[in-house]
């Protein structure tokens, strides 16, 4: 999880204070809160009118020069009453937050870090406290200490700490699972040392976020208590009592609702914005969710050099993310029954190329130019509508993480049936086809497996299901994005054999994206080498391996431990390239 640490363009972590101050809303929130504090401290000096001063000749007046927020039912100045109420509210919040912080950090961090029985106890305690009816307990405390806000705020702090400690516990757990913690333990650091050095800095952000949100709640609860006439000895002005007085004048002077509610709302908003702004910066939740922008489809231009018999051709595919070009003019042709391997390292653009044909690029990543010719039909790759229509029935796809490609909430059979139904078959045939598909991908006990959920099957089986699902609509073209990378090598061999046989029996054009040269050698007929989004070389597999043309291909093949003589120092790519081309890359 990215949590607190986000990284600047130079790769350094940007502190949360700096991030906070870079967001205008957070700054406004801080300004408001500071203003409140200043007014509270300086009230006797800054506010000229006495909040308790009644002027029965000037009741229920709207704002004016003399009374900035008007007067209430007894002629008292609303502005000064509001200002004098700040202290009660802010002290209450401070009391609750301090207790909450102390308890939640102590419980949350210790439970998350040490685990075991202590963790279980803390979790039980937290569940219990979260189930307590807050107001009831507070009412009981207040009936005891009617005129005193402190016990109620302490109680609120204790009850609120439960929710906060739950969050801190999960953050601590996540940090504890990180490998660098294990490395630190192995290196001999003590637990205390690790907590101080690694855990506390990571939870600082979530602590501020949670405590800000808790402060927002504390303001509302505190206002509620004084609304009920508890917690403060009358006639001291409080925000809650102002709302109560507004209720009394509701029929003829509703204006009082505005300043009394407004000041509470602004303060709650300020605390909330502080918390949200921080969370925004790390998890992007309140700010723009990633939604794909609709692009205007470009006119398709028919390419002139399509070879006869080609089922799938891509021409000059260029993909960019904002200013950065990720793929520079990739082109290839594929006949039916042929398997093309797209080989490259991470960042070579191989996956993006295959996703562009499906119109499934991530938001922010767009095809700037490119044309596909499928069975004679010319389609511009910006025509996402047309591409969406081709999904399933014409072009199928299988993905790298087989388990993650299945919806965990539905059974295997259900997910297959759903795709089959797109062909408008009668229901009886649908169920039969589900079993038939599972058998075609060589899954034993097809009926049993169809009733299972994804978490109940292995990775290899999940990939077979993925293949079955991709083939359900009988596509002519199959895209396979690193389909065996996440699988054990023995399972990989079987999946590759399966892909090979299905590709041939159904005469599909298969595009296989991979970084593994052994896989290319195993099932591809032709292969294309990509580096930094450019095609370096494209040839039949035999030619590519035995007579590689491009220096980079040659260097990569030579650096492969599977080709090297055991015991030798492996030739590295940089050395190779230096030798071959006479310059360093």
């Amino acid at each position: 999880m990215s949590a607190v640490v986000s990284v600047s363009s130079q790769g350094q972590p940007v502190g949360f204070v700096r991030r906070l101050l870079s967001r205008p809303l957070a700054v406004l929130a801080l300004v408001w809160l500071i203003l409140l504090v200043v007014l509270a401290i300086g009230a006797p000096v800054l506010v000229s009118l006495d909040p308790l001063d009644q002027d029965l000749l000037a009741i229920k007046q709207l704002p004016s020069a003399a009374h900035w927020l008007g007067t209430d039912a007894l002629g008292r100045d609303v502005f000064s009453r509001t200002v004098y109420g700040i202290t009660v509210t802010l002290t209450g919040v401070l009391e609750a937050v301090l207790i909450s912080a102390f308890l939640s950090i102590g419980l949350g961090v210790s439970a998350g870090y040490f685990g075991g029985r202590w963790d279980r106890w803390v979790q039980q305690y937290v569940s219990l406290v979260q189930s307590l009816p807050t107001m009831l307990i507070l009412l009981a405390v207040l009936s005891l200490f009617g005129q005193d806000m402190l016990p109620a705020m302490v109680t609120l702090g204790i009850m609120g700490s439960a929710g906060v400690s739950r969050v801190l516990r999960s953050v601590t757990l996540a940090v504890r699972e990180e490998l660098y913690i294990a490395a630190a333990r192995i290196s001999g650091l003590s637990d205390v040392h690790i907590i101080v050095r690694h855990v506390l800095p990571r939870i600082a952000g979530p602590v501020i976020v949670q405590l800000s949100l808790f402060s927002a709640i504390a303001v509302i609860v505190q206002t509620g208590i004084s609304f009920l006439g508890l917690g403060v000895a009358p006639p001291a002005p409080t925000w809650g009592s102002s709302i109560y007085e507004a209720a009394a004048s509701l029929n003829d002077f509703p204006w009082l609702l505005v300043p009394s509610g407004g000041v509470v709302a602004l303060t709650v908003l300020a605390f909330g914005l502080l918390g949200d702004s921080l969370r925004d910066a790390s998890t992007e939740s309140w700010s723009r969710p990633a939604v794909r922008q609709k692009v205007q489809a470009r006119q398709a231009v028919k390419p002139t050099d399509i070879p006869a018999g080609s089922l799938l051709s891509m021409r000059d595919v260029c993909i960019a993310a904002g200013e950065r070009t990720l793929v520079h003019g990739v082109s290839f042709d594929l006949k039916q029954g042929e398997t093309l391997g797209i080989v490259g390292e991470s960042g070579s653009g191989k996956t993006l190329t295959s996703l562009s044909l499906m119109g499934l690029l991530s938001p922010g990543v767009n095809v700037t130019s490119g044309t596909a010719v499928i069975a004679g039909e010319v389609i511009d790759l910006s025509d996402e509508k047309r591409l969406a229509q081709l999904r399933g029935a014409t072009v199928g796809m299988i993905f790298q993480e087989p388990m993650a490609a299945l919806d965990p909430c539905f059974t295997i059979g259900h997910q297959l049936a759903e795709v089959i139904r797109l062909q408008n078959l009668p229901e009886t045939q649908v169920q039969a086809k589900v079993i038939e598909l599972l058998e075609q991908v060589k899954i034993p006990n097809a009926r049993d497996v169809a009733a299972r959920y994804p978490h109940q099957i292995s990775g290899g089986m999940a990939q077979r299901v993925g293949i079955a699902r991709a083939l359900a609509s009988e596509p002519k073209i199959l895209l396979a994005d690193e389909p065996t990378t996440a699988l054990d090598v023995t399972v990989q061999a079987e999946i590759l054999a399966l892909l090979r046989s299905l590709g041939q029996s159904r005469q599909m054009a298969v595009v296989l994206v991979t970084h593994d040269w052994g896989v290319v050698a195993d099932i591809c007929d032709r292969a294309m080498v990509l580096r930094h989004g450019k095609v370096l070389e494209s040839a039949t597999v035999v030619d590519l391996f035995h007579r590689p043309q491009h220096p980079y291909t040659r260097a990569l093949l030579a650096a492969n431990p599977h080709s090297a003589k055991p015991g030798d120092v492996l030739p590295t790519v940089d050395e190779q390239l230096m030798k071959m081309t006479g310059d360093a890359t």
Partner: protein
């Protein structure tokens, strides 16, 4: 499934005991006790001690509590010292109102909250921001203040709904419903916001997952991807929050019932606290705790049904 129910009931037993003991204990700390309150400050000492013994107030606290608990299990919650009525009958009379409000809040915050959350997650741009801003309203204004605004606008000015008071269902279903609309929305505003926020977060998270892309790659229509697959997966984290939100709504009813003068458990709790009517407060607390247990149980069951890993084990 049965396991889920049993486990939650088992965990709830200590909860009920802890909460009721806590309130009992807190009340016992009050200066003066029931006997002195009844007799008055200047009653003769022997009379005071005799009454204390008669009421069992001289026993150790734990024994007193167990005595109360024993009676409670038999359905006897004691007598309200203020009104001399049976606590059990007082709380029972008020239960219907509170349950109606809670049920209404549940329906409203699920329907409106889910819709807002999904819309907010799917529509970036200004629509999303507008929804966010609207959702903010429930979060930053106290429920009782919102209640007052709603009364001012819809009851006093527009006269669509009654400002205060409650009509029983048996008297007039229409009036019953009308009297509950404003209170339900006052309480629900905060819940709607929490649910909308949680739904938005969950949907955004789910929409970024691999299987969504895989489902689209199969050619499934977008509406199926969102409303069947994404929402179903997003429902899990939302349900876990729903329980907390509803428990929070219980607290909300305390204020709102007072503003709307509704004869529910919340307003009863406030008057019991103000009058230091200990047994009554104890009884109300018990009922609220039982409501909490019921909510937790429903959440557990929903979660168990929604989560395939729990459903098949």
């Amino acid at each position: 499934m049965l396991q889920v129910i049993l486990r939650r009931l088992l965990m709830s037993v200590p909860l009920v005991f802890v909460v009721t003991f806590l309130t009992f204990f807190l009340n016992s700390l009050a200066p003066g006790d029931l006997a002195s309150t009844i007799l008055g400050a200047d009653a003769p000492r022997e009379q005071y001690l005799a009454l204390r013994a008669e009421m069992g107030l001289d026993r150790p606290l734990v024994m007193q509590y167990l005595g109360w608990a024993g009676h409670a299990l038999q359905g006897n919650l004691g007598v309200s010292y203020f009104t001399q009525e049976s606590v059990l009958s007082l709380v029972n009379a008020r239960l219907g109102v509170s349950l109606s409000i809670m049920a209404g809040v549940l329906v409203v915050c699920l329907s409106v909250g889910l819709l807002l959350g999904v819309a907010s997650a799917l529509k970036g741009g200004w629509v999303g921001r507008a929804i966010d801003a609207f959702s903010l309203v429930g979060l930053i204004f106290p429920s009782f203040w919102l209640a007052l605004v709603l009364i001012s606008v819809f009851a006093v000015t527009l006269r669509w709904f009654p400002a205060t008071g409650y009509t029983m269902f048996s008297d007039s279903p229409k009036d019953w419903a009308m009297s509950l609309v404003l209170p339900i929305f006052s309480v629900a505003m905060y819940s709607i916001t929490s649910i909308a926020k949680q739904t938005r977060d969950a949907m955004t998270d789910v929409m970024g997952r691999d299987f969504i892309r895989a489902l689209r790659a199969c050619g499934l229509p977008e509406r199926s991807v969102i409303w069947k697959h994404a929402l179903r997966n997003a429902a899990l984290p939302v349900v876990t929050v729903l329980g907390l939100v509803m428990i929070g709504a219980i607290s909300g009813t305390v204020f709102v019932e007072r503003v709307f003068v509704l004869p529910g458990l919340g307003s009863l709790a406030v008057s019991a606290a103000l009058n230091k009517d200990i047994l009554l407060l104890q009884g109300v607390t018990l009922y609220f705790t039982l409501m909490t247990v019921a909510i937790n149980l429903l959440v557990d069951l929903s979660y168990g049904w929604l989560n395939p890993k729990v459903r098949v084990s």
